[in-house]
């Protein structure tokens, strides 16, 4: 960053114009929907779905239900959200609307990731994969990777890119508190 200097950066670039237009379009869209439900309404509904079905203990059944509910809630958001005020003044409702739009996208991604990982590992506990004592049961043969999800577009499903975890000096074992 020190090498950037203090001269203004030239903004004559098609990618820059595309980005500015994208942001302006999103702002106009959010302000233009003029629906019946507040941003907080959607935030709280999403929170309940995530808490119930993508929380500390997850099941395939719950996650599948959550995915459908989030998809429906997201569609409802873009048709019925009410964002008051204008763009030209400080507008906290507009700020919140942007955040909740992001959370709806991120929530669905978290559910997809949890559904994909058919093991229990760390903070991800799938009830179907546990030891007889109720501890997390990993499946290192099939799931020793970091799941990096690639954005493919707003209405597209994201693409899974596996980053394999290879341990050279450590042997993977079952954690025991005994």
């Amino acid at each position: 960053m020190a090498g950037l200097g203090t001269k203004p950066v030239d903004t004559n670039h098609p990618e820059f114009e595309k980005a500015v237009k994208g942001v302006k379009d999103k702002i106009s869209k959010l302000l233009g929907i003029k629906g019946t439900k507040s941003v907080d309404y959607f935030h709280k509904k999403l929170g309940k779905i995530m808490w119930n079905d993508c929380g500390m203990a997850r099941t395939a059944e719950g996650l599948t239900r959550a995915k459908a509910e989030i998809k429906a809630l997201r569609a409802e958001f873009w048709k019925d959200v009410k964002v008051l005020g204008e763009n030209e003044e400080l507008n906290q409702s507009l700020e919140k609307a942007h955040r909740v739009a992001d959370f709806l996208e991120l929530g669905e991604l978290m559910v997809d990731d949890a559904l994909n990982r058919n093991e229990s590992c760390g903070g991800h506990f799938r009830e179907e994969y546990q030891t007889p004592e109720g501890e997390a049961l990993r499946d290192d043969e099939n799931f020793a990777y970091v799941a990096a999800w690639k954005y493919q577009g707003d209405e597209q499903e994201e693409l899974l890119e596996k980053e394999p975890l290879v341990f050279e000096n450590v042997k993977l074992t079952q954690r025991s508190y005994k």
Partner: protein, 249 residues
Amino acid sequence: MKLTLKVWRQKNNADKGGFVSYPIDGISTDMSFLEMLDVLNEELTEKGEDPVHFDHDCREGICGMCSLYINGKPHGPQQTTTCQLHMRSFSDGDTITIEPWRAAAFPVVKDLVVDRSAFDRIIQSGGYVSVNTGGVPDANEIPIPKTIADEAFDAATCIGCGACVAACKNASAMLFTSAKISQLAMLPQGKVERKARAEKMIAQMDAEGFGACTNTGACSAECPKGISLTNIARMNREYFSAVLSSENV
């Protein structure tokens, strides 16, 4: 509980602004003050009215963002931040007056939101230690008496909320500026630049349009972190000795 909220509404900096009364009901004594305002804002949004704008962030009492002047006291009746003020501090049927921080150096942006970048500029003018990053020496290489370390830490707990300015009848920023100057002047790494720091930060503080200090002490009494008035005395000493041996002649 049922309450009447007298809230300062101001469309933007150019707008004159004024108080609007909002009756509100169904407020639990367990709610925080800001949760109560969230309830009000949901009701206003439902009716199609612009919600009340106010600053908040962590809602845990540590970030320094929330800044409401409640019933004539910054952060309200308890010596805590607005976000940690709960509705059990009020009674059923109360009228609560809610205003932004009032100071020429903190222009109102909208409703209860004020521009506190004056504080940022004071810190930028010298509230730091200049270090060329590279190998970091062991922290215990330079011995510091525990009493000094504790006092510096106490001064460092300032969260920069600006309640001191709001409490002061002169809108002085002495407590905020002195907390930073003290924190750094007491420690070995900060001592090196203490003279220049005192001169520059106080010059910036004055340039921002904050008022002068008359040792009233309202600032320290209202401070949610209990920053001590001793810091102001310490800063005055720092400034006096800096000016006496100043390189700016």
